[in-house]
Each structure stands twice: as C-alpha cells, then as structure tokens.
C-alpha cells in the first residue's frame, strides 16, 4: 500500500497543473489545498482569487467557505462581486478556474443544477453559483470530482457550466471566450480532452486504480491514451507541506 491517500494524489496532481504567476479562481476543499500546495512549492507567485472578492488571500486556517472571514484578513485586496465577474473573469484575467459537480459528461459539461427534469427534478441541486461564468470565461478549467457511474453520464441532465458542449469547435461557434476544461482529476485517475473531438480521454491511473474501475464508473465507452500512464505519486516534500503546513494535525479539513 502507498503511504499517501487518494485525496493527496488528487491534490498534488491538481497542484502540478498550475504554472507560477498564474491567477487562479479558487474554491474550497481539494482546489484550495492544491493551490496553496502549489504556492508553497513550485509557484510562489500564484495569485489566489475567490469569487467572493478576496484577492491574494493568505488564510491562517483552511477556509470553510469561499466567503470565509480568514480570506479577508491579510488579503492583498477586496473587490465587489460585480467587479470580480466583470473586471477579472470576463476581462480574461483568470488563468485557471476549478470546478466540480454532480455530473460531468464526455465533453466536460458540468451539472450542478438538477438530476432529472428541470421542472420536475428527482433531485434539486444548489445551482450555478459562479460555476457557469468560470466555465465560460476562465482561460482554462480544472475539474475535480470523485469517479462514480452516476457522476459520469454520457450526457448531463442539465448543462449548468459549459464544457465542450457537443464537442469539436462548439465553444468557438458559440463565442465562448474561455478555453474550456483542460483536465478532469478524479479519485481514480486523470482525464484530458482530445484536441479535435474534445472528448474525454483517460490519460493516467492513480497508483492502485485499474482501468476496469474507471470504465465501470464511466457512463460511456471511454477513450484511453496509449500508453496509459500511472499518475506520479506525491513527493515527500509535497506530502510534508500538505500534512504539516496546510492540514496541521487537528486542523480543519
């Protein structure tokens, strides 16, 4: 057994997809850990922005929500939400946005709105929040989700946040400014999108995960890269920062 958890693999994998100096729209949970890990390792100049308007936050504890008070104390700046969405996101200043959802489909479209019919839902979910605009306007999007069959249908019940829609150049045809999803990081592996069809392709399996597991938990016949790599394990340094600095023993998760 490896001496690290699946969440730690997801966090380090996401962290490695960030480049120094990038401006990142952060959520809580794994994205928050990934961005803070990257900032403390390879990307000291990463700029963290929360859709709540906190810029360059330096949280002294893990934020419990994107509007947490710790994101303001000691931040570089605060701006109103209309400014966040217009002057930052729509202006094209956000390099990376993190998204997740109840469902993601083969073209990276995300659903956080309803399961079933919109007007007679089986389950009513929270809705878009800032997800729709992050998907539409961020230069690239990283999707972080657990890999379950019900979460990976061939087609989402509702497109809250546009991925590549029907694939190909559908985004460009609709004039979506953002680049769309760059990768999907699950608890089983990493998936990217084929440059032409924009369909999801399994790129690597996390240590211990199998292709069968992934296919069983995916609602369509999944394309697989060859060779299918194994996701790089977290380094000792990454694990140290993660365990000692970001999630201090007894610290909130």
């Amino acid at each position: 057994m490896p001496d690290f958890t699946t969440q730690e693999v997801m966090v380090t994998t996401a962290a490695r997809m960030l480049r120094d100096g990038e401006v990142v729209f952060v959520g809580i949970g794994i994205p928050n850990l990934a961005v803070n890990l990257a900032r403390r390792t390879r990307c000291p100049n990463l700029v963290l922005i929360y859709e709540s308007g906190a810029i360059g936050a330096r949280p002294s504890r893990l934020p419990l929500s994107i509007g947490d008070s710790v994101l303001v104390t000691g931040a570089l700046g605060v701006c109103s939400m209309p400014e966040t969405f217009q002057y930052y996101l729509q202006r094209g200043l956000i390099d990376v946005g993190f998204l997740g959802g109840a469902q993601v489909d083969r073209f990276g479209n995300l659903n956080t709105t309803v399961i079933g019919d919109y007007h007679r839902p089986k389950a009513r979910l929270p809705g878009s929040g800032g997800a729709c605009e992050i998907a539409a306007l961020a230069r690239r999007v990283l999707i972080v989700m657990n890999h379950k069959l019900r979460s990976f249908p061939e087609r989402v019940d509702f497109i809250t946040s546009p991925g590549y829609l029907d694939g190909g150049n559908a985004r460009q045809r609709l004039g979506l400014p953002g680049g769309g999803p760059a990768a999907v990081i699950t608890d089983l592996g990493v998936l990217r999108f084929a440059p032409d069809t924009r369909e999801m392709v399994l790129e690597s399996l996390h240590p211990g995960a199998t292709l069968e597991q992934v296919q069983e938990n995916t609602g369509w016949k999944l394309h697989v890269a060859s060779p299918l790599r194994t996701t790089e394990s977290p380094t000792d340094e990454e694990l140290h920062v993660l365990r000692e600095e970001l999630i201090p023993p007894g610290g909130a998760r």
Partner: protein, 301 residues
C-alpha cells in the same frame, strides 16, 4: 435627519406583504435578525432575492414568508443542501415555491443594471448553458458597434433592500469593509433601503474616512442598531461565523418537525434579537476575534 428605528418599526414600516425583498451579504453580513423579525411579523407572499439563499431564506421559506425565490446558489456553504428550500422545490412542501435562477454573475448584473437605471446590461457569459433555455430573462443582444452577439439580463429593482453593515451614523451614512458582495448595487437598485448595523457611530467618525462609505445616508430609509444582528453569519472585525450552527442546521432542517421546533424556540419564542442573544449566551462572545487593526491614512490637504 435621524433615521434610527427599532427592528420592529423598520420591518413593519418598510416591508409589505407581496414585496420583492433583497437581503444580501455574501456569507458575510447576512441580515438574520431582520429575517427573524419578518417571520415573527408573519410577512407573506414575499419574492425573496439573494445570490445565496443560505440559512436565512431556508428559514423564511419554512416559515411560509415566501411566494417566490430568485437566486443563483442554493446551498448551505461548506456543509450541504438547504433542506427547506429543497422540500419546497422538489415536493412543494409546505407550499409550492416559484423560483427564478441565475448564475452569480447574472444576478449580480441584474442588480447593477437597476442601480444604474438601465433596463439591461450585456455579458459574455451564458453561451452554451441550459440556464438560457430555462430562464427567458436571459436574452441575446447584438452590439451596435461590433455586431457581436452577447447575452443580457434585465434590471432587477427590489421594492426593499435589507443590508447589514459594520457601522453607520444616525442619518444612514453606512461604512462596510471586508467582503462587500453586491451591497452597493442592491442599495442603489432598491426603492427602499433598510440598513442594520453593529454600531451607530458619530457622523464625525464617518467623515474622517469618506472612502469607506458604501451607502450614502440619503439612499437609506431606516437604520437599525442591532449588535450580533448577522449571527450566525459573520461581521468582519466584530464576530466570526458560527460555523457549528451552520453544521447543526443540516440536522435541524432535515425534517420539518425539528425545523419548526427551532423556529418556535429561536424566532417565535423570543421578542427580539436581544432576547435571542441572551439565549445564545456566551457562545456569542466566543465568536469575537482578536483585533487586527489597519493603519490610518491621511486625508489632509
């Protein structure tokens, strides 16, 4: 001219049955004390507007105040779903609830349009999202200069805005710091504005830092001084979010009975926010943080 009022006066005078009521504050500055007073006054058929309905609207919906919800993210932040809102939307329990749904950007832009008194504003958002399919208020617009196709949302001018803030003077000149969300846009979008503050300060103090003023007094109809009026949400520099309560609400709200019991004890069962605070007791004081003061700046000439 002083606009000081008690919460009872302000809510009964400025919020009418059937009104469209925006009660904003993004995680920060959520006006719970005002919501509890509206529940006690049994206000009905309200159209409730917030980016994040949060526990405040979960409680008002359960209490039967709402006819319709306009929102963009209906969850318990960092905890889970809003059970009362879900029951209303999924099972029409206790009553059917109309709703109109946007993204945060879309709803914020509706407030901004109303604040600027233009009937619409354009955006590059929404293309490809099913939100435009289910919400006829998101319409295409063509740029008269470039011919580009964009999307647009219409102005949303609430009958009344209810906004919590750190401090104001008696005339209603209101200062806010920390997350400001859409406070300014809502204050200018609404027909009537009620501000609830942690403390009333002298106009001299306001005048010593004019750039800190978010809402000018002449836009404000009533100012209510209600310490801890945003609990269980937070007020930067005054008290932190009562996260234990947000977690506990998941339990409380899971079934109508326990939610009703909560309202009986903590809303109907108290006369006002002061009694609520006495009942919460020391837990409130434990939410007060250590002071982290900024440096003064020089406004001299």
């Amino acid at each position: 001219m002083s606009k000081l009022a008690t919460m009872k006066e302000a809510m009964s005078r400025f919020v009418c049955d059937g009104d469209t009521v925006a009660m904003e504050g993004f995680t920060h500055l959520i006006p719970f004390a005002a919501a509890h007073e509206l529940i006690r006054q049994r206000r009905r058929n309200l159209t409730l507007v917030r980016l994040t309905p949060d526990l405040i609207f979960d409680q008002m919906v359960a209490a039967g105040c709402a006819r319709k919800l306009i929102f963009s993210w209906a969850g318990n932040p960092g905890v889970g779903p809003l059970h009362a809102v879900r029951r209303a939307l999924e099972q029409q329990q206790p009553a059917p609830l109309e709703f109109e749904e946007y993204s945060h950007f879309g709803l914020a832009l509706r407030f901004q349009a109303a604040a600027a008194n233009v009937p619409f504003l354009p955006t590059r958002n929404f293309a490809g999202s099913d939100l435009v399919r289910v919400n006829p208020n998101v319409k295409p617009v063509t740029c008269p200069h470039t011919g580009e196709e964009l999307w647009s949302v219409p102005a949303l001018a609430p009958d009344v805005a209810i906004l919590h803030a750190q401090r104001a003077d008696e005339d209603g000149n209101t200062q806010v710091w920390g997350l400001v969300g859409v406070h300014k846009e809502v204050a200018f979008a609404a027909r009537r504005v009620v501000v609830i503050v942690e403390e009333i300060v002298s106009q001299e103090l306001i005048r010593r830092d004019p750039n800190r003023t978010l809402i000018p007094g002449f836009r404000v109809d009533a100012v209510v001084c209600e310490p801890f009026g945003a609990h269980p949400s937070y007020v930067q520099g005054y008290y932190d979010r009562d996260n234990e309560f947000y977690v506990r609400w998941d339990e409380i709200s899971r079934v109508p009975q326990s939610l009703a019991a909560y309202l009986d004890k903590w809303v109907y069962g108290v006369a006002d926010r002061q009694e609520y605070c006495r009942r919460v007791g020391d837990a409130l004081e434990r939410l007060r943080g250590r002071p982290v003061l900024c440096e003064p700046v020089n406004y001299g000439y």
